[in-house]
Amino acid sequence: MNRPWVPVLLAFAVFVLVWKAIVIVGGLPPFILPPPETVAERFVSAWLDGTVWPHFITTLVEIALGLAVGVALALLAGYGLARSALFERLASPYLVAAQAIPILALAPLLVLWFGNGLASKVVICAVIVFFPVAIATMVGIRSVDGRLIELGRSLRATDRQILATIEIPGALPSIFGGLRVGVTLAVVGAVVGEWAGASRGLAVLLNLARGSLFDIPLMFATLVTIALVGVALYLGVVVLERRLVGAR
């Protein structure tokens, strides 16, 4: 694989061509499915004229803070779930129940409680990110080879040293599996939160484009932006994973 980008670009070209073909063959009007070049044009103009920017920043901040809070809590809870049978027995029914309630159903309530500003979005993002990362952390910590921990004890490692030099590195591949799921869900969380009530954000822009502006190409350009945010975050996690986990 000397040029890893070649297949990626080819696949993208196929995607765009199929899109264009559907528009032509189906004879679809632009307000149902605008052709790719129209969306591309609107995407560029919306970024250049500053239409997207404030919404983009708002959503990005929500995602970043939500991820930070959700991941931090999930790492702590995941460790507790793995190492304390009592904590697992007490906490896991609530965790599963919370996960079983669709975030869509929960979001309006959270907006009611935390207002329609940043706080409610951060909470929604954190809630949705929490579960996969906590479970991945629990599985990862449990999968750490007990014989390595015994080795650490034989070398008089403190609990903190065992955590830092054996448990965390050992659980890292699994934790990253949870983070891959978590970052994409964080985008969903931000969009759902904005949908439930917000004055700014990519989902607000989506709503505006569909409704009062009736600018369907802008709606698609916003969808593309949301998708790109997800892809960028996911790639970020993959790059971090390569660096931290690397070849073993």
Partner: protein
């Protein structure tokens, strides 16, 4: 290593040592049933016994990883209450941290002990030289090393803190016969250079004879000392020494002590069966 008086450091004293695993319903599972064993500083003792006789458990108690349920374990007169810097332990498997390079695995005990980086590098150099590790292996990950090299790295790691006592829990059982012989000789060389007390758990009678001053035979669980057999073989020893008449005589005595237990433990590994033990000295000598 500071010598205490005239005696060499690293003396191990076990008196009436008992250990039992807590079983279900409060019923304990006794593993060690009053072990009495004294090893002078700088001595080499081989522990031999049928599978599941508690040899590894005994080593873990001495290493401070398991708390005895009775009796006492002492190093240089001090009761062993937990893992001790004077004691180095090598497990059956290398137990290297897979995400660390060879160098970082070897210096791991130094890192845990808070030894500053320059001193670690210096010690690493000495250990790499001592264990004759290739330069390419030093930066490699454990997954890139052969089984023998991995165990050599584990040995280097156990030596990092310059222990007075080295506990070896069948460290070469996963290696092929030829590599294993080389390692046995390497252990002897290390012993001569470091002067550490060595306790080697093994299933191999020839290995025990080649290495040890004394071969201690344990009974099946719950273990007690069945026989303590001196090996009257001059040092330094070589593989060729295993031809000596004294060897077959010693082997015979060890086997006699093991005899009854091995007849019962017919499902033991080949290395521990009477047939394997009978064959092995001749194989090693040829």
């Amino acid at each position: 290593m500071t010598a205490i008086g005239a005696t060499r450091p690293g003396a191990i004293d076990l008196a009436g040592l008992r250990f039992a695993f807590p079983g279900r319903d409060g019923a304990a599972l006794p593993v060690l049933d009053g072990i009495d064993l004294s090893i002078p500083g700088g001595g080499i003792v081989a522990l031999i016994g049928p599978n599941g006789s508690g040899k590894s458990t005994l080593l873990r108690v001495v290493a401070g990883l398991l708390e005895p349920t009775g009796g006492s374990a002492r190093i240089d007169g001090d009761a062993i209450t937990g893992p001790d810097a004077r004691i180095g332990l090598v497990f059956q498997e290398p137990r290297l941290l897979p995400w660390r390079s060879t160098a970082d695995n070897i210096t791991y005990p130094l890192e845990l002990a808070g030894v500053p980086v320059p001193a670690r590098a210096e010690r690493l150099k000495a250990l790499v030289e001592l264990m004759a590790l290739e330069t390419a292996a030093v930066d490699a990950r454990p997954s890139e090393l052969s089984g023998g090299t991995r165990q050599r790295v584990a040995l280097a790691r156990a030596l990092a803190l310059e222990p007075e006592v080295l506990l070896l829990d069948e460290p070469f059982s996963a290696l092929d016969a030829l590599t294993r012989e080389r390692f046995d000789l390497e252990i002897l060389r290390l012993w001569q250079r470091s002067g550490a007390t060595i306790v080697l758990v093994t299933h191999s009678i020839p290995e025990a004879i080649l290495i040890a001053d004394r071969v201690v035979v344990l009974s099946p669980r719950p273990a007690h000392v069945v026989a303590d057999i001196a090996v009257d073989l001059p040092r330094p020893r070589t593989i060729a020494d295993l031809d000596a008449a004294v060897v077959s005589h010693t082997a015979l005595r060890i086997r006699a002590a093991l005899g009854d237990e091995l007849a019962l433990a017919s499902d033991a590994t080949p290395a521990a069966t009477p047939a394997g033990a009978r064959r092995a000295p001749a194989e090693v000598a040829s």
